[in-house]
């Protein structure tokens, strides 16, 4: 490597070391965010407060309520009447009501269509649906028990047997943590470089650089390489936390993981440099970085909201979000293994985006002052 480039990189490294905020971005940001996310974000509802109203206790109703009490998903609170339970739900003290009416046992034993009245607070639709699923589980177990007591088996025409691949226990943390790495890396990549060119423009040092014999290519390489090393350090730290702190399994190879991370980081750094080069003012570059990085990577990457369920035009938009490809690779490499039919197309998309961003930056950066 030529000495001019080494000199430029040395200058950039010194700048990083002297304003510790860049090191903080690469190492403190991922640790803080992964800790908060890893512990804080979960879609697995447990101990959901649910009100139970039993108008006339009988062995049948007792078995039903006992099934709910045994389930780790419910925190059962009994109410003497439906009016009290309704009031508790309005005040958001409980998320659902299970109501067994006075004629429950009589109808269950004779006609066989005794209604179990279930009301759920539907404001958080996802949560409500999960709660419904849990109540259904209790109901099926109760049916099986009643059938056993009558000396038979529960006879449903079709019996569903589900097998869940890759994450049989449906631990939401196992897919959220890999997705988070993509969000965190988006922030690191863009934050590291979003201000570096604009800062030099603002302080006039870019002009000084242009007056030296270094080529534009060397200036850009000198900016990308040190931050690339920092970003990969942040990535290694994030992966280490995922594996050893949150115990997410890694079923694919580390090589694929870091290879795709390198491509993604180049794309993210390229986007940061593009913002910085186009804005020429740190203030404007900062505004744009806040707006275009975090929320799109959070909402449009498939990290938490399923892309295939979005309307077509929105699905098209998600293709310009680099995090989308990285999330797909991360979730697959962590939970499923080296599935080349997922890794290759997404890796290729990352490569194209990295080349695109860096190419535009190279075109925009000429030795001109206008």
């Amino acid at each position: 490597m030529n000495t001019r480039l080494v000199g430029l990189m040395r200058k950039e490294v010194l700048q990083i070391v002297r304003d510790p905020s860049a090191i903080a971005i690469a190492f403190v940001l991922p640790v803080v965010l992964l800790l908060i996310f890893g512990y804080g974000v979960s879609l697995d509802a447990k101990h959901v407060p649910v009100g139970v109203v039993v108008d006339a206790p009988t062995p049948q109703t007792q078995a039903f309520v006992a099934g709910m009490r045994e389930s780790p998903y419910f925190d059962v609170r009994e109410y003497g009447g439906i009016a009290a339970a309704r009031e508790a739900m309005q005040e958001r003290r409980i998320n659902g009501i299970v109501w067994l009416r006075g004629d429950f046992s009589r109808r269950a034993l004779t006609a066989g269509d005794a209604p179990v009245g279930v009301a759920v607070n539907g404001v958080d639709a996802n949560d409500a649906r999960i709660l419904e699923g849990y109540v259904q589980g209790v109901w099926v177990q109760w049916l099986a028990r009643e059938a056993r007591l009558r000396g038979g088996r529960l006879a449903l025409p079709v019996e569903l047997q589900s097998r869940i691949w890759y994450n049989p226990a449906l631990r939401s943390r196992d897919y959220l943590v890999p997705g988070l790495i993509a969000v965190v890396m988006t922030l690191i990549g863009a934050l590291l470089t979003a201000l570096v060119v604009a800062r030099e423009w603002e302080r006039g040092t870019y002009e000084a650089l242009m007056a030296t014999p270094v080529s534009m290519r060397e200036i850009l390489l000198g900016k990308v390489l040190p931050y690339f090393v920092l970003g990969m350090g942040g990535m290694a730290l994030s992966v280490a936390m995922a594996l050893w702190l949150f115990h997410v399994p890694l079923r694919g190879s580390a090589l694929v993981l870091f290879g795709s991370a390198a491509l993604f980081l180049l794309a993210a750094l390229g986007m940061g440099l593009l913002i910085s080069t186009a804005a020429k003012s740190q203030f404007v570059a900062g505004l744009i970085a806040i707006i275009v990085t975090f929320l799109p990577a959070f909402i449009l990457s498939g990290f938490i909201f399923d892309i295939r369920s979005m309307p077509e035009p929105i699905q098209v938009i998600t293709h310009v979000i680099a995090a989308r490809y990285f999330v797909a690779i991360l979730q697959t490499v962590f939970l499923a293994g080296n599935v080349w039919s997922v890794i290759l197309p997404n890796g290729a998309a990352l490569l194209v985006m990295a080349l695109f961003f860096l190419g535009i930056v190279a075109r925009l950066s000429r030795k001109r002052l206008d």
Binding site: D19, I25, I36, Y39, G40, V41, S42, L43, A45, M89, G112, D113, A114, P115, V116, G117, V118, A119, V120, V123, A125, N126, V135, Q136, W142, A155, L156, P157, V158, E159, S162, R163, I164, W165, Y166, N167, L170, S172, L191, R199, A279, S281, F283, L287, I290, V292, F294, P296, L300, F305, D306, R308, S309, M310, P313, I314, T318, Q331, L335, V342
Partner: protein, 369 residues
């Protein structure tokens, strides 16, 4: 308002809006993002791609599969005839689930025996998998009821009758869009404030401001007003889009909504100014903005319920202004809450606002280094 505070506010607005790019950055992205995110951010599944692995040629199997073909929730992508083919489709994410009917499906049913149906689901996104499984069991339950009635099977002794309050069709858009209103308002407030002091410090103009007769309180008001005004205007636009474009019902009173918006903006602007006043460079200001913004969104209950968090993290969320604002937004939009029900949310917001603004004013003159 004294004329000189007004002069300061005008100066702040000029600094913010003079540049064409930053003017655009304030107005266009929030509106675009609301529309895009409003459609994108949903836990409801549509067009779930599934593969059929059917080894039975009987009428009952066709009847069963027709129930899946008949909803818009599921979209068939392939018919396979071996486990290996099914595995490949799942692996490459071309199908989210595979329905496997064994060779004796119809025979079993006609003999009054339970017929097993196997679903294999890609669990890489466990939430999607769980929801899809719920949809599948709903379809199966529908088939079971029909078949039991038509072929004289015993009734199950009890049936679930489920009703959802406030959001009867369980549209997650109704839950998410008010949340996005809060998200974007927060981003706008952070964008306006988090770099404003750091930028002046870097340029040296903040020292000039400090040697003028302005008191820190006046500087604070001058710096805070643009954030409040821009936030109020954009917040109004965002609420209008939520109601008119996404048809989210707005059941509660506007007074309750705006009181919440004002208190929330106070606290968001306060946090932004505090970060900005503590930062020596804009790079540090930007880092601070993200270090606040990201946890504030994640720990707000926007996408994942606070009740699912461990107790220690739940206590942490009490420091988060977004947490209170989301309760206000969802309460006012969906449950029709009025002002009197929401004081427990307004007061913490006001307290956070006063505390952070006081810290910011103090930091104007006493920075750490």
């Amino acid at each position: 308002m004294p004329a000189r505070i007004w002069a300061l506010t005008v100066k702040e607005f000029l600094a913010l809006l003079r540049d064409k790019v930053s003017r655009m950055a304030l107005i266009v992205p929030p509106i675009l993002q609301l529309v895009v995110f409003g459609y994108a951010a949903s836990f409801d599944l549509n067009h779930v791609p599934y593969a059929i692995y059917n080894e039975d040629s009987g009428a009952a199997a066709r009847n069963f599969l027709a129930r899946f073909a008949g909803t818009s929730i599921f979209r068939p992508v392939a018919e396979v005839n071996s486990d290996a083919q099914a595995a490949r489709l799942l692996e490459s994410r071309d199908a989210l689930l595979v329905l496997h009917l064994g060779p004796h499906f119809t025979r079993d049913l006609l003999l009054h025996r339970s017929a097993p149906v196997q679903v294999i689901i890609d669990g890489r996104n466990s939430n999607t998998a769980g929801i899809a499984l719920n949809y599948v069991s709903a379809v199966v339950q529908g088939f079971n009821e029909q078949w039991a009635a038509d072929h004289g099977w015993d009734h199950p002794p009890a049936l679930l009758k489920i009703r959802a309050w406030y959001n009867p069709n369980l549209l997650s858009r109704w839950f998410i869009v008010p949340g996005i209103v809060g998200l974007l308002t927060l981003v706008v407030a952070m964008v306006v404030t988090s770099l404003s002091v750091a930028r002046e410090r870097e340029a040296g103009t903040f020292d000039q401001l400090l040697v003028t007769p302005y008191r820190p309180l006046e500087i604070l008001i001058g710096k805070a007003l643009p954030g409040l005004i821009v936030g109020l205007l954009e917040g109004t636009g965002i609420v209008l889009i939520a109601v008119l474009w996404f048809h989210v019902p707005l059941l509660g009173s506007l007074a309750a909504l705006y009181l919440g918006l004002i208190f929330f903006l106070m606290s968001a602007v306060g946090v932004g100014l505090m970060i900005s006043a503590a930062a020596a460079t804009q790079q540090q200001g930007l880092l601070g903005a993200f270090l606040f913004l990201v946890p504030a969104v994640i720990l707000s209950g926007f996408a994942t319920p606070i009740a699912n968090m461990p107790p220690a993290v739940q206590y942490l969320t009490y420091l988060n202004p977004m947490r209170y604002f989301l309760v206000i937004l969802r309460g006012v939009f969906l449950e029709g809450d009025g002002v009197s029900l929401l004081w427990s949310q307004y007061l913490p917001l006001a307290a956070i606002g006063l505390l952070t603004m006081a810290t910011a004013a103090w930091l104007f003159r006493h920075r750490l280094y």
